[in-house]
């Protein structure tokens, strides 16, 4: 009862890694793609678009991820059936989109004024100025904070266990329910989350360092 069955624990948690990583990767990539148009709305000159963008960001960030998971799981059950994996992926992507949109927005505003002035002085139109000069720099500036955010996303993905996605957290809970010692089992699960986060952290640091040397005058 108090003895940890290493083989069983590792096998079960190993089976959960795929879900945790898959969920995190899809939500992150989804957020990187969908976050950009949301950021565009946030910085739009059209008030209605700005308003929609702001509302989206505030609502998605203001409600806990676990609440989104439950809301989408039960709320969309009639529409998409009760598939916990789809519900968890959608919920995590919705939230990631909001956070990453804010990274893009901050990054776009962070592009130095001189870049605008130089592009305007060369006769670029507003559209050219934005897409050729500001957006590419904004996206690059947003990479480092977004990579850091991916670590948070990895951990938030654990809420998927609540609606029954068999990720690492879910596996750990199931193990304890079938007699594995709680402390040791969750310690192993925690260690696996930590191990998974290390390469993301390393990537974030590398991107950050590259950016610093590149933007240095």
């Amino acid at each position: 009862m108090n003895q940890l069955d290493w083989g069983r624990v590792l096998e079960a948690i190993g089976a959960g890694i795929g879900y945790t990583v898959g969920l995190t990767v899809i939500a992150f990539l989804g957020g990187m793609i969908l976050g950009f148009p949301v950021a565009l709305m946030r910085v739009s000159r059209i008030r209605a678009l700005r308003w929609i963008g702001t509302a989206y960001v505030e609502i998605c960030r203001g409600v806990p991820v676990v609440a989104w998971m439950l809301l989408i799981f039960y709320g969309l059950a009639d529409l998409i059936g009760t598939d916990p994996l789809i519900a968890a992926t959608v919920a995590l992507t919705v939230v990631a989109t909001a956070y990453i949109a804010e990274n893009y927005r901050a990054a776009l505003l962070h592009v130095p004024l001189g870049q605008w002035e130089a592009a305007v002085s060369l006769g670029l139109t507003r559209r050219q100025l934005f897409w050729r000069v500001i957006a590419p720099q904004g996206v690059t500036i947003a990479l480092a904070p977004s990579a850091t955010y991916a670590i948070g996303l990895l951990k938030e993905s654990a809420f998927a266990a609540v609606i029954g996605v068999s990720d690492i957290a879910f596996q750990a809970r199931t193990l304890t329910q079938s007699g594995q010692p709680g402390l040791a089992t969750f310690a192993v699960a925690g260690a696996v989350y930590l191990l998974l986060s290390l390469p993301i952290a390393a990537a974030a640091r590398t991107i950050d360092r590259r950016m610093r040397t590149r933007s240095a005058m």
């Binding site: 001189g114 130089a118 060369l122 670029l124 040397t213």
Partner: protein
């Protein structure tokens, strides 16, 4: 004498006014620049030199006054230029900033070809050929495929000059192009500017480099408190300034 095409100033600024709220920065500036001339704009910090230069290409929108290029007003209503007027005037003017402002995400070559393609509609081959020719002129052909951040400040400024020249502007505007550079690096930028002047490029240069103003400028214009205090050829103005503010300013600059 009836004015002919030839003796009309290339740039004509008349009665230019600009305020920020209560603060009048340009208080009715009148200044002509003839084709091929180099005009050095000097004056103390806060005099309105940058604002004047930036009004010429509408980076700042003037409140009142006339700005003509090649005898044609650049905007029907200078305080409310239309989009197409703005694009037209920016195509005709080249601007060089104190801080270079090269595009860091593009190669040096691409920095110089981008606007040629987008603004002038040149083919990428033509744009590239022109860019390489200009890089040759500023002595930086070997930097074509480098990123701007791999270049020194002096090199970046020479690239910025090439970028502006690539659109074949009728007048080049320089806002303290060497103020962010060490003196030994400034020299290479000033040499490029001098060569441009020798080639007959019309230039308005805001500068604290009095040596450059003396040797290269055809005319020096002194700005203080939003007004053009006096203008004249550099030798006369430096040795015999007509106004007290000019004398004080020149003393301060030359004493350094």
């Amino acid at each position: 004498m009836a004015p002919t095409e030839g003796d009309q100033p290339l740039v004509r600024i008349d009665g230019l006014r600009k305020s920020y709220g209560e603060h009048t920065v340009l208080d009715g500036i009148t200044l002509d620049v003839n084709a091929g001339d180099v005009v050095a704009l000097i004056g103390p910090s806060g005099a309105g030199k940058s604002t004047l230069l930036r009004c010429v290409n509408y980076l700042e929108i003037p409140d009142e006054g006339v700005i003509e290029l090649e005898g044609v007003p650049t905007a029907a209503a200078p305080s409310a230029p239309t989009k197409s007027e703005l694009l037209a005037v920016r195509r005709k003017t080249g601007m060089v900033f104190q801080g270079f402002h090269l595009f860091p995400h593009l190669s040096v070559l691409r920095n110089i070809t981008l606007a040629q393609e987008l603004v002038l509609g040149r083919s990428s081959e033509d744009a590239e050929q022109r860019a390489l020719q200009l890089l040759d002129r500023v002595g930086l052909r070997e930097k074509a495929s480098a990123r701007p951040t791999q270049c020194s400040g002096g090199q970046q400024q020479r690239i910025a000059i090439a970028r502006a020249l690539a659109l074949d502007p009728v007048v080049m505007l320089f806002d303290e192009p060497t103020s962010a550079l060490d003196p030994e690096v400034s020299v290479e930028v000033l040499r490029v500017m001098r060569e441009l002047a020798d080639l007959g490029t019309t230039m308005v240069v805001v500068t604290h480099e009095m040596g450059f103003a003396r040797r290269v400028a055809d005319r020096v214009a002194m700005l203080a408190g939003g007004s053009l205090v006096e203008q004249g050829d550099p030798a006369t103005m430096f040795s015999d300034p007509q106004h007290e503010v000019t004398a004080r300013f020149l003393n301060a600059v030359f004493d350094r």
